[in-house]
């Protein structure tokens, strides 16, 4: 008949838009009218739940065989386009960083880093984080080859290490954030630093959760040696996150200090 399935009607899209409305209006009220942050976390949690229910449907459709080769190709193209849009999102923050740092204004002392900013020491935690992410890139590739060669224990182990490294990275960033001697409100240095690394950290969090979700599916024997697109999507996302970190490290941490 046709290589594409007709997807059943689904309530999730409507629910996601309702939840996003609630989340964003609560965010605005938290900004200005002292609404408690719990009221922001609640729709946030609801958003995560609805997304997982949606992806559960996608998973189920894959399990009953609706994901033909042609559909898998569509999923690949879509994931690549999504990552492309994320690349341009980070472009805007790097643009802001270079705009501020290449010709610093008189207000920051015509120097970069600005006068008074005590930068983080590049070769301690940031370098460690770089090594963590590069290693996780290696372990995720190891996991991929293990899956393709049908080695169950090795793939679980290597994917597990990748997830652990992701969590380790986030933990080290959290420690760094607490120990940094400047905040987001410290002029354009703090603004560009925390915005770029902050959004990067959020993407690492998403990537780690995605890899963990794939790990759970792997353990449940839901990935085949020749059909494991969820793993590949998570791995592509993870490599993207890694590349963004490398550019961050070189631009903001190393050159910008």
């Amino acid at each position: 008949l046709s290589p594409f399935m007709a997807v059943q009607s689904s309530f999730w899209p409507f629910l996601v838009s309702l939840v996003l409305f609630s989340l964003m209006s609560n965010l605005v009220l938290w900004f200005h009218l002292k609404l408690s942050f719990t009221m922001v976390l609640f729709p946030g949690l609801l958003l995560v739940t609805t997304s997982f229910l949606w992806w559960k449907d996608l998973n189920r459709e894959s399990m009953i065989g609706y994901h033909t080769h042609k559909l898998e190709v569509s999923l690949r193209v879509a994931m690549l386009l999504f990552i492309l849009s994320e690349v341009f999102f980070f472009v805007s923050f790097f643009w802001a960083f270079y705009d501020a740092s290449l010709s610093p204004t008189i207000d920051v002392g015509m120097m970069w880093p600005p006068k008074g900013i005590v930068t983080l020491s590049v070769y301690s935690v940031p370098l460690l984080n770089t090594i963590i992410l590069l290693t996780s890139g290696i372990t995720v590739t190891w996991a991929h080859h293990s899956i393709m060669n049908n080695y169950f224990n090795k793939s679980v182990f290597s994917l597990g290490i990748t997830v652990v490294l992701g969590v380790y990275f986030l933990f080290m960033q959290w420690v760094e954030y607490n120990e940094a001697q400047f905040s987001i409100a410290d002029g354009v240095y703090g603004s560009t630093f925390f915005m770029a690394t902050g959004f990067h950290g959020m993407h690492v969090m998403v990537g780690t959760i995605f890899l963990f979700y794939v790990l759970l599916n792997l353990v449940d024997c839901k990935l085949l040696y020749n059909h494991h697109f969820s793993f590949e999507a998570a791995a592509w996302y993870w490599h993207f996150v890694d590349v963004v970190w490398l550019i961050l490290f070189i631009s903001i941490y190393w050159w910008g200090s």
Binding site: W12, M24, V28
Partner: protein
């Protein structure tokens, strides 16, 4: 209840396309009312509606509504959703559920925009939302934050929709005979538009997020006191903003190519590959010309020279398209005076005029005089109200039988066209004079010497309102008279005309085979 669920949980491209059309028409009426209020204020001497801030809020909201909730939903969401699967001969989009998400995200997005005007003072910055005016010191209150979230949501809607459309066009072709060099031109237009959306919208998202943190978290991206630069916002905004205007017009180019092909009774549009290359080059070039919106901020003269030159080169592929459309019409025997073709001929003439005023503005030297005057307003309304809006009416009248299985009244359609043509030209042509004589834009009042042209412009907007009311009557009449369409008089070449009309809920259930 189940009928409600059908419309809330749809994964059918025709249903979702219809939702987009209804939403776009409704939003268009709201945007039109705002434009009418603007012209009302400018059509009488002195202050009429309220203070200047209210006027600026109207101007800002008018732009946002028309761009993000009328043109984009109708041209991409409406026409795109209906036509892409039908023209490719596939059952539905690559991701039917995400398709629905793209539509439903527009509802909270629009609500946030309306809320931004209803709560606190409203956003009185212009649709470009430049800091420092949009910063917390000059727009305290939650209006700008609500508008920023509105843009976030409509941006996510468009990015996901573009991923969906592009993936469908690239991957879903189940027959090898619809290769990329046989793709209908409307699909090429949508594909280029989708690429522009995917790459430019995230930069806007970054820019408005930085504005949000500047307003609420004490960051200094655009605050000179902290080492930031307001011009950075303008660079980021216009890096999105310029591709955005090509996003607005490119689907129109596709629609015009189809209608000309249908009504000139020829087998092909003149020079298919040239049309494709033109659209792709317009899309690509659109990324490297953004600073022609910033000629007066104090950029280096060499920078201005570059952007002038780069902007003028876009006129070349655009001109190629115009000449090709004329060449396609030339020599055909029974070029009808049907309604869609009237709109298309109006488009070709008026969009060209708008493009020519754009060439004037692309010169940085002259733009220094004309920037932020009514000359700019006239330019973009010619390419928008008379470019994409004419193309939308053309496409709507042309494809109405496909969408509903009914026909629209031809005579009323022609009356509607002529009324709209006179109305919009009366509204926007005098604005050239106003701009050349120096009247600034986004001003609620003006010196007496500008009165005549402003009055004529406002009278034109009155006429446009009447013609839109006539359009509503035309729509109503079609549904009440219920003239089912059996055959088409024009040269229905593409696949969307092949099923029996009205097209059933599930179309192209089996993969097609195309013989050529």
């Amino acid at each position: 209840m189940t009928n409600l669920l059908r419309w809330l949980t749809s994964t059918n491209h025709k249903d979702i396309g219809t939702l987009y059309f209804i939403f776009g028409i409704w939003a268009g009426l709201i945007g039109l009312s705002m434009s009418f209020l603007i012209r009302l204020e400018l059509g009488v001497v002195g202050s009429y509606l309220g203070d200047e801030h209210l006027y600026n809020v109207l101007v800002t909201a008018h732009a946002f509504v028309m761009i993000f909730f009328m043109v984009m939903p109708v041209s991409m969401g409406g026409f795109g959703n209906w036509l892409i699967p039908l023209m490719l001969g596939v059952a539905d989009m690559a991701f039917p559920r995400m398709n629905n998400l793209s539509f439903w995200l527009l509802v909270p997005a629009f609500m946030f925009l309306l809320l931004s005007s209803a709560i606190d003072a409203g956003v009185g910055t212009g649709w470009t939302v430049y800091p420092p005016l949009s910063d917390s010191s000059y727009h305290s209150g939650i209006s700008v934050d609500l508008a920023i979230f509105s843009l976030h949501l409509s941006g996510i809607s468009s990015i996901l929709g573009s991923i969906n459309f592009l993936t469908t066009i690239i991957c879903s072709r189940t027959t090898k005979s619809i290769s990329l060099d046989r793709l209908p031109l409307f699909l090429w237009a949508v594909a280029v538009t989708a690429i522009l959306l995917i790459t430019s919208l995230p930069v806007l998202a970054g820019a408005i997020t930085m504005l949000l943190t500047d307003r609420n978290f004490n960051t200094s991206f655009f605050d000179p006191a902290g080492g930031g630069n307001p011009v950075l916002y303008q660079h980021l905004f216009w890096f999105f903003g310029h591709p955005e205007v090509y996003i607005l017009i490119l689907p129109g180019f596709g629609i015009v190519s189809h209608i000309i092909l249908a009504y000139s009774f020829k087998k092909e549009i003149f020079g298919y590959y040239g049309m494709v290359y033109a659209m792709v080059s317009i899309g690509l070039l659109g990324f490297i010309v953004w600073a022609h919106h910033m000629f007066t901020v104090g950029m280096d003269v060499d920078t201005r020279a570059y952007f002038t030159a780069a902007t003028m080169t876009i006129a070349v592929p655009t001109g190629v398209k115009i000449f090709k459309w004329l060449a396609s019409l030339y020599g055909s025997k029974n070029v009808s005076t049907s309604v869609p073709l009237l709109w298309v001929k109006g488009f070709i003439f008026l969009f060209t005029l708008g493009g020519l005023t754009g060439i004037m503005l692309s010169n940085s030297s002259i733009d220094v005089v004309l920037h932020d005057t009514y000359y700019v307003v006239a330019h973009f309304h010619y390419v928008l109200s008379m470019g994409i809006v004419f193309a939308i009416f053309a496409g709507f009248f042309y494809w109405f039988p496909v969408f509903t299985g009914l026909s629209l009244n031809d005579y009323l359609g022609k009356v509607h066209f002529y009324m709209t043509f006179v109305g919009v030209n009366l509204t926007f042509f005098p604005q050239h004079f106003l701009g050349l004589s120096g009247m600034p834009r986004r001003y609620a009042d003006y010196p007496d010497c500008s009165f005549v042209w402003n009055k004529i412009s406002s009278l034109g907007s009155f006429m446009t309102i009447f013609s839109v009311m006539l359009f509503i009557v035309i729509l109503w009449e079609a549904f009440v008279s219920h003239r089912t369409v059996m055959f088409t008089y024009h040269n229905a070449v593409h696949l969307e005309w092949s099923p029996r009309l009205p097209i059933s809920f599930h179309s192209h259930v089996e993969s097609i085979k195309v013989f050529y």
